[in-house]
Symmetry: C2
Subunit: 360 residues, 2 copies
Amino acid sequence: MSVALPLPPGSAIGILGGGQLGRMLALAAARLGFDVVVLEREADSPAGRVAVKLIVGDYTDEAALAELAAATSLVTYEFENVPSAAVDWLVTHGIEVAPGARALAVAQDRFEEKTFLNAHGVPTVAFAAANTPDEAVAAVTALGAPALMKTRREGYDGKGQRWIEHAPDAAAAFAELGGVPVIVEAAADFVRELSIIAARGRDGATAVYPLAENHHERGILRRSIAPAQVSQATADQAERIAARVLAGLDYVGVIGIELFEMADGRLLVNEFAPRVHNTGHWTQDGCEVDQFEQHIRAVAGWPLGPTKAIAQVEMLNLLGEEADAWAKYAAEPETRLHLYGKRGARPGRKMGHLNRVKPL
Amino acid sequence: MSVALPLPPGSAIGILGGGQLGRMLALAAARLGFDVVVLEREADSPAGRVAVKLIVGDYTDEAALAELAAATSLVTYEFENVPSAAVDWLVTHGIEVAPGARALAVAQDRFEEKTFLNAHGVPTVAFAAANTPDEAVAAVTALGAPALMKTRREGYDGKGQRWIEHAPDAAAAFAELGGVPVIVEAAADFVRELSIIAARGRDGATAVYPLAENHHERGILRRSIAPAQVSQATADQAERIAARVLAGLDYVGVIGIELFEMADGRLLVNEFAPRVHNTGHWTQDGCEVDQFEQHIRAVAGWPLGPTKAIAQVEMLNLLGEEADAWAKYAAEPETRLHLYGKRGARPGRKMGHLNRVKPL
């Protein structure tokens, strides 16, 4: 039994993961008349609290998956580390999962990801895989120090990676990262970090939002400025990259692609996330159809919406206790607040974000 | 025990009523980090499906009210016919209810409403109360036919009212309306129907949105154009009316005030609704802070947000089977769809609305 597309309003959409991205996807889906069913490990989660139904369980728990499959025939996700076993189970049981298994498989392994990108004519930094301490040292030697060592799988917001200043240090770093397969990346001497949020519908139509300029602190996104000030050539280059990635993955949904802008104007892809993306939060107040509605439209087989900017936005993440200043931000006329309803403001935890809006 | 204001994100807000207005209030509250608890008679409702908790029960069921009071200390509502017994019970048990009992009491009785308006210097059509067939005939005779007879309480979207073409017919019409107390209103020879959405915070600060021009069909709102083309004098007049109504009710929250624009430029108030209002749906895509977030801000004791228009909007209600054309509307780049997830498209039932947006 397969899902009838386009999915009519009143239908239920399943979301794997109950964090803030799931919450904002759920709110966008509700606006279009959909019900949302969330599968999440925690009983109390940002997305679970706005869903018609919350299934608490592990993503590979077959009873939980069966409960999800009974409630909906279309499932998406809010994080890229969805176990492939979960997707396989759902697909085997006739559930449509978007973006699909291929996008997840490629995105879950940093070596596969960069290999895929290069194979589709999308430039990245030079890189090499390493499965042993000796291979790690050899990789850094070949690429030149300093180089960045990352676990091939898992890790986010700067976790699971080490800078290697001297090739012989690579052996110890390999051990520190758990002795698991790693990728070693040449240092990118970039001048700016940019990103592009793009979408592809079930009919193959694509849409891209204007670029965002991103600033990280300690590996965590701090702020985005969008639309970024870029040349037309840079915008065209980013759009070509997005088109290649989307087509190469036969993608359905919204994708976030992080870019390094080099001094010579070239764009290299740092990584992509097969989901809505923190650097796309500006679209909530800067575009008529934001990345969350766009993702729901795409996976539901609806036509994509417009992506042009209608305002200039500075997006600021509220980390940990920063969100306690909500009353100050609420009083700023130019500031739109988006809070996730998370319990417990651990340092560095993303508690909300704000979009400071001004006319273009 | 009273609620601490301003209400911090992460707190729960209670909503009486589970319809589309409750749903859109719930989505706005969620965006600001609040949880929403809905009390509603139906087990399956638009707002209930996006709430963290749905309490199914009658509004005067004390067990249901006690469950609501256990979950939240701040309650608002999405319809003006909330039984006063429900509000009294909640207030007695230390729950803050906004907008308050006075606004509800005045709004629930069309005679009290117009009496209140005139007493606060706000003009209306001439009117009279009638409790018997004879009084009804006398009222029409005094006001002049044709006149409009309405039940003093209940009734919406044109239900519970009759046009009286000849004074003697008033006796039969009185009986047709159930023999209950009525108000008889002189015909308003208006050139346009306008409305103003206004808000008042707990600190007494007020904010008004630009006027909307409204078109009804068979007593049901069909479309609104906003900002309406009006003179500065008309806008000022509407703003003064809103200020008087808000202050006179010591109001907290968003209010919708329906206006008749007369040939001589005077504005008469037709009625007001102590809640978010269908003629304010354009603000979702025409303003930075829409009427739903504004209402949540006001009742939660937050500062009010900006109300200026950032786009020109035509709002169209989707009634009954009209919502079946969602795929057509979804493909229009200028159209933002808002669907309520209602089961069953009875003729005339509000299933959703769309905002057609263009630059100012």
